[in-house]
Amino acid sequence: MSVRDLAIRYGFILLMLGLVAFFGLAASGFLTLPSAIFILQSVAITGILALGVTCTLVVGGFDLSIGAVATSALMLSAYVMVVWEMSALAAVVLCLLMGAAVGMINGFLIVKMKVPDLLATLGMMFVLLGVQRIPTEGNSIATGMALPDGTNATGVFSPAFLALGRLRLWNVLPLSVVFLLVIAVLVWGFLELTRHGRLMYAIGSNAQAAALAGTNVERYKVAAYVISGVLASVGGILLAARLGRGDVASGNNLLLDSVAAALIGYAVLGASKPNAFGTAIGALFVGILLQGLTMLNAPYYTQDFVKGAVLVVALVFTFALTGQQIRRA
């Protein structure tokens, strides 16, 4: 392997290790188990969203609606428990169904209506931002809130639901981190080890060839958007469990952070393509950066700057060094 190949393959991982070493020296308390677990917890939600968007990137698509799906799930779970006074299970199931339905609609618009992916999911994003506010007339949802009919909502976030975002296994490992790790392994296994994942990569590289090889291209594309929608709703559920209320929010920062993680993932191990492992590392990378910078009292705008710089470096790794034409970025 030439130096160039080594740089492409391991450069980004080395960069990350260097960063960890730097923060470890500069910020006391950075190289501790609680700190490490916290980093994982802080990237759990964007990481899960990023794994979903990775699936759409694999089929050569893109999903701009994930942030809005997540905040819609946040509002929906709160509405189900606080206003309808239903159980945690009902809230989780309805959120997952909502995510799947949004993915189906995205897929339908893209595959059957031939709307370009960016436009279809952008439209869906705005639709969701509006829809999630209609039932509460734009208000956040919390126990005791006034309802349009004049009464007050009496339902509460059930402890079981809150545990999804707050419980720690063995008093150490937050449940949301477990979800992140499990979903990362599942998505990685799906994309790398199953024929479905293989065919999705084939579709992303040459959809025409995949179709002429007898692949049901449309079905796989829809499936990718359904996965993306479901994972985004999982992210929204964890968000709701952490916040403990239905916060009105656009989720645009969730979208941007998770897309950044997925794109940084292109550079990990010189993959030059969307991949689950890279996405997980990308999310972790962003988490380490933000944790370290915050511990060093760096103001928020420097964090945006650094996040952007990392993304640019990652894209340079991917595109310039490997010299490959990538289908989508």
């Binding site: 968000l239 952490r242 989720g251 915050t294 009292n297």
Partner: protein
């Protein structure tokens, strides 16, 4: 023709609210409120605060029996200026400008005045002495919260501070924070952080976790915006430090009340102005202008301190109960001349 329309409007008004039967006793143009239309031109609209503000505006307009047109620029400064022009073109009788940027709103507000339309501004300085400023006093908000922090924790503590510069109300609250730090040298600010990435509470929680692990000796968190406070509370809970850290904030909502009342909650007190009351006051000040009365160059809506202990003692669970049990929160005797009809229901969320 004119008479018949007036009559119809009066009848309609009478049907809506019995109090309006007395409309002819009010100064013009409110003797004929069905003919009056005002516009609310908004810059910020997403979130509980702005929703509550709108509800106050709506209720006061309803009490006056006048028509309200809401123009929402959704954080687009240029669009907001265009919307003022649009309101002028529609021939409204008065305009409330809610937030915005001085640069873009100054000229637009002047154009409205030139067209003979009275204007009041909430939380945006349009640098025009003919335009009354409606303000919730951010300095008073910060002062009330910090005085409570001193009362609870003494004059010397290690502090974390949540702040994003460049946001006018946060900048004003920051001035008070700086004054307090100068006045009480025992306050040691070891970390300043903050972000407006949304969901804000989630992003602030992530930052606060990092800050707490870097500075485990913090005892007071000053988070003068309720989304910040919510995020800090999540982090304090996750770090298992709620016994050690106290949070002081500004603003309040039903969700905040629940968070403050959680058993062992670190969120000790908040200072707040009822945004619905601010909305009511905005319309009342505008109405005074329209009736050729002077509400004053600055109309300040005084804030109220709300402590965890108060909420628990009174078993307050939502904004409605807060308004009912803390009268200072429900009403402001500001811009309320005798003829001014007040909303029938007390102000709530």
């Amino acid at each position: 023709m004119m008479n018949r329309r007036t009559l119809a409007a009066l009848l309609a008004g009478a049907a809506l609210a019995p109090g309006l039967a007395l409309a002819q006793d009010r100064p013009a143009p409110f003797d004929n409120p069905g003919e009056v239309e005002i516009a609310l031109v908004r810059y910020l609209s997403t979130g509980d605060f702005f929703q509550a503000y709108l509800s106050g505006v709506e209720r006061q307009a309803e009490a006056l029996g006048i028509n309200l047109r809401v123009l929402d620029s959704r954080q687009d400064a240029a669009l907001q200026a265009d919307m003022v022009d649009q309101a002028i073109a529609l021939g409204v009788d008065g305009i409330v400008i809610q937030h915005g940027l001085t640069e873009s709103m100054k000229d637009a507000a002047q154009r409205a005045l030139d067209a003979g339309i009275p204007v009041v501004a909430f939380d945006v300085n349009v640098e025009n002495e003919k335009i009354p400023q409606i303000e919730q006093s951010d300095r008073d908000l910060a002062r009330l919260a910090l005085e409570q922090a001193i009362a609870d924790n003494g004059e010397a503590w290690t502090a974390g501070y949540v702040y994003v510069p460049g946001i006018a109300p946060l900048d004003r609250r920051n001035e008070t924070w700086e004054e307090f730090k100068a006045k009480y040298p025992g306050i040691d600010e070891v970390a300043m952080f903050g972000t407006l990435d949304n969901p804000i509470a989630n992003s602030v929680a992530n930052q606060a976790r990092s800050v707490l692990s870097a500075n485990p000796n913090i005892t007071v968190m000053f988070a003068p915006y309720d989304e910040f406070a919510k995020g800090v509370k999540i982090a304090v809970d996750e770090a298992g430090m709620s016994g050690q850290v106290s949070i002081y904030s500004a603003d309040i909502s039903t969700a905040d009340i629940a968070a403050m009342r959680e058993p062992g909650s670190a969120w000790k007190a908040t200072a707040a102005t009822n945004p619905a009351v601010v909305g009511e006051v905005s319309v009342r000040a505008l109405a005074m202008l329209m009736a050729d009365e002077d509400p004053g160059a600055q109309v300040i809506v005084p804030p109220t301190l709300i402590t965890q202990a108060q909420l628990n003692d009174e078993s307050i669970t939502n904004m409605e109960e807060l308004a009912a049990k803390l009268p200072a929160f429900a009403h402001a005797d500001v811009a309320a001349p005798d003829w001014m009809p007040l909303p029938s229901a007390p102000a709530q969320n």
